[in-house]
């Protein structure tokens, strides 16, 4: 096993290469493009026996990906942000087709206003499609999750598409040391593609993705996707255990960091979780009892595991790098539902929204969030949700607004701008 410096994008491409994918429908979009460029180079150079086809949109890309998967080959694809939303119709379709492919999403904030930097609204928009979701915090995890994702997707008990998410810039363009597993070991871990009886072959009639009339039939098929997704939780545990046995890296569905005797816990997904860890290390060194809980698996939602890890804490702060306007943080909503009605009452939950559009979360902000949580626990009242946004940032916004519109002070309607 070699350890080299790889960007998150390159790690994703390595995952696809080691999984020996047959087919890569592609479409460029920042910050994902490096993944398909890397794969294209390997395929052109004969390193990877696969076929890459650039479609004219993500909608078509996902269609080709799903169609190939239900014809009988292993498919990899990647997108980001606007691309994921442009293909949204097909996300639901591919889940309904039971197309077992892996799609990497490199998270990026959604337009408008258009931006390049990450938050999680794109991937969370795919939350209800029927795709399973694995969320990464490091470049190593990106590579390993792609391999885990194929085992999960192609398992006959699951047979659903899987989305592997990594943050734009913070992982996509960031190099970290990544251990690259031996291809032979990966081949042992990941058996050849099995089509579970869904394919197109001469002499074997097959009509796929057929229309239904009537709510009973629709309910049945849609609920089968749900049951398969739920069943994927146990399959994931099995697959992750097998991965750990073979490669020595452990990926439980929910990562718990310094949680053993923590009274207060931060909950978040994605790469900023490592920043939280750094802050927690400092707090623990100062004698505080603070931990981090990070769901890797977001679909199926590891509700039981989260109840086990969080149910007995005093306080939980959820940091959402997403925003559902008119509601707030999406993870906060999901976690509230998971922790509702516990016999012991459950922890006090405090909601923070931060890191939108790639906005950094500074160490002192993690410290302050813990402080707010501590006070809330003491008072027994959760404060209103808090956007992580500083006075300095507002001043900066004001300066830019003044350029965009002219200075605001002392200027009324109809006055000339200088």
């Amino acid at each position: 096993m070699t350890r080299i410096l790889l960007t998150g994008n390159a790690a994703a491409a390595w995952g696809a290469r080691l999984a020996a994918v047959d087919y890569v429908p592609a479409f460029p979009i920042t910050p994902q493009t490096e993944i398909i460029e890397t794969l294209a180079e390997w395929i052109d150079g004969g390193v990877l026996d696969s076929r890459l086809v650039t479609l004219e949109s993500e909608h078509s890309m996902l269609t080709a990906a799903g169609a190939a998967a239900v014809t009988g080959v292993r498919v990899f694809s990647a997108t980001s942000s606007q691309g994921l939303l442009y293909g949204m119709e097909m996300l639901y379709n591919l889940a309904g087709w039971r197309a077992p492919l892996v799609l990497v999403n490199v998270s990026r904030g959604l337009s408008a206003p258009i931006t390049l930097e990450p938050d999680h609204n794109d991937v969370l928009a795919a939350r209800d499609s029927g795709f399973l979701q694995l969320h990464c915090a490091t470049c190593q995890e990106v590579l390993d999750n792609v391999l885990l994702a194929y085992r999960l997707a192609e398992d006959a008990r699951v047979r659903l598409p899987v989305l592997v998410n990594l943050d734009g810039f913070y992982l996509s363009f960031t190099r970290e040391p990544v251990a690259i597993p031996e291809p032979a070991a990966v081949a042992d871990f990941l058996p050849p593609f099995s089509d579970c009886g869904l394919h197109f072959r001469g002499g074997q009639p097959s009509s796929q993705a057929v229309a239904v009339l009537g709510g009973g039939l629709y309910s049945y098929f849609r609920y089968q996707v749900h049951l398969a997704a739920e069943q994927a939780a146990a399959v994931y545990a099995e697959v992750a255990a097998d991965f750990e046995r073979r490669f020595g890296r452990s990926y439980p569905a929910v990562e718990a960091y310094r949680c053993k005797d923590a009274e207060l816990v931060l909950v978040m997904i994605g790469s900023f979780a490592t920043k939280a860890k750094a802050a927690i290390d400092g707090l623990c060194a100062a004698g505080q009892r603070v931990g981090l809980v990070r769901p890797r698996l977001l679909r199926p939602f590891p509700a039981a595991e989260l109840r086990r890890l969080l149910g007995h804490r005093k306080g939980v702060a959820v940091i959402d790098q997403n925003l559902s306007p008119g509601r707030g943080g999406i993870l906060h909503t999901e976690l509230t539902a998971a922790l509702y009605g516990l016999p012991q009452g459950g922890p006090l939950l405090v909601s923070f929204v931060g890191g939108l559009g790639g906005r950094d979360i500074a160490e002192e902000e993690f410290v302050q969030m813990v402080e707010v949580l501590r006070q809330a626990v003491q008072e027994g009242i959760a404060p209103p949700p808090r956007l992580l946004f500083t006075e300095e940032e507002l001043q900066q916004v004001r300066r830019l607004q003044d350029i965009a519109h002219g200075r605001s002070e002392g200027k009324g309607e109809g006055e000339e701008t200088s």
Partner: protein
């Protein structure tokens, strides 16, 4: 199905819920007779979505329903996946299938045009059948960009469609694919010849088939063929093919029947005849046909 008999592999089974007298189903039926069950038909949203309603399918071969915009992209995925498996020795050539895209005009002329254009750019080896019933038929016949000028549709009820039918044949041909043809089921020999010719070629092959629609156009289903024949005889639906870089007419109606005879049969043009004939508009529509033929036969 034992009851569909020994010839079931070369025609679509009956029992589909499409309208009686459907000119599109008629064309598909004739196409399937030539291509048979060694096909996977990749379908976009449209009337033909309803061909397969669980658990009933008319196909002896294969079928994949995609969505409105992306049947050509679905065909790309299927074709590539079959080629990959052939190349890697995972399936035999006997297990290979021809890839056929099936869409209506709503998809072909509009939402699906981008995916089709790109498939043509890539030289995808597939056959595309568009059943052109000149409107969004499955939703109650609203106008599409295939709707002819002056036609009443559910969204042009008052004075008829103000636009003109888009020249999809020319758009497709501009991509220089292996083959493009217009056809109609009312001319079965011409259609069968074109399907056979297309089937023998490789690369992108596209058939644009006018599909007289009793429901959307407002005529008695018994007249489907008559309306289709008149479309050809009046010259409003030119039968032609593009092959080897050239467009050639396969049937030139030199003694053209007056267009009014075609229009008069259809409820969607009734406002041109009643309460009194709209001579000016009828003359304009006739002139458009004249201009076309003058241009192409000069």
């Amino acid at each position: 199905m034992s009851e569909s008999g020994p010839s079931s592999h070369s025609h679509l089974a009956p029992g589909t819920p499409l309208c009686a007298g459907c000119g599109g189903l008629q064309a598909l039926q004739q196409l399937y007779r030539v291509l048979g069950d060694k096909t996977v038909v990749v379908n976009a949203a449209g009337c033909m979505t309803l061909l397969s309603i669980y658990p009933f399918t008319p196909f002896a071969g294969s079928w994949l329903y995609t969505a409105m915009a992306c049947a050509a992209a679905g065909a790309q995925g299927v074709r590539d996946a079959l080629d990959i498996q052939l190349a890697k020795g995972r399936i035999s050539s006997a297990e290979d299938l021809a890839t056929v895209v099936l869409t209506g005009d709503g998809s072909a002329y509009g939402m699906g045009l981008s995916a089709t254009s790109a498939a043509l750019d890539r030289g995808l080896d597939f056959l595309y059948l568009c059943y052109d019933n000149e409107g969004y038929g499955n939703t109650g016949h609203q106008y599409s960009s295939a709707t002819p000028r002056a036609a009443h549709t559910a969204t042009s009820r008052v004075s008829g469609y103000a636009g003109s039918k888009k020249d999809l044949f020319a758009i497709w041909a501009a991509h220089r694919p292996s083959y493009v043809a217009t056809a109609i089921a009312a001319e079965p020999q011409d259609l069968a010849r074109k399907v056979k010719k297309a089937a023998a070629l490789r690369g992108p092959r596209l058939l644009l088939v006018l599909a007289p629609c009793p429901t959307g156009w407002g005529f008695d289903p018994a007249l489907t063929v008559k309306v289709g024949q008149l479309a050809v005889e009046t010259g409003i639906w030119p039968l032609k093919e593009y092959v080897d870089g050239r467009a050639v007419h396969t049937k030139i109606p030199r003694q053209r029947t007056p267009l009014a005879e075609y229009l008069r049969l259809q409820g969607r043009f009734a406002h041109l005849f009643s309460p009194q004939p709209d001579e000016q508009r009828l003359a304009e529509l006739q002139q458009a046909v004249e201009d076309y033929w003058q241009q192409v036969t000069e």
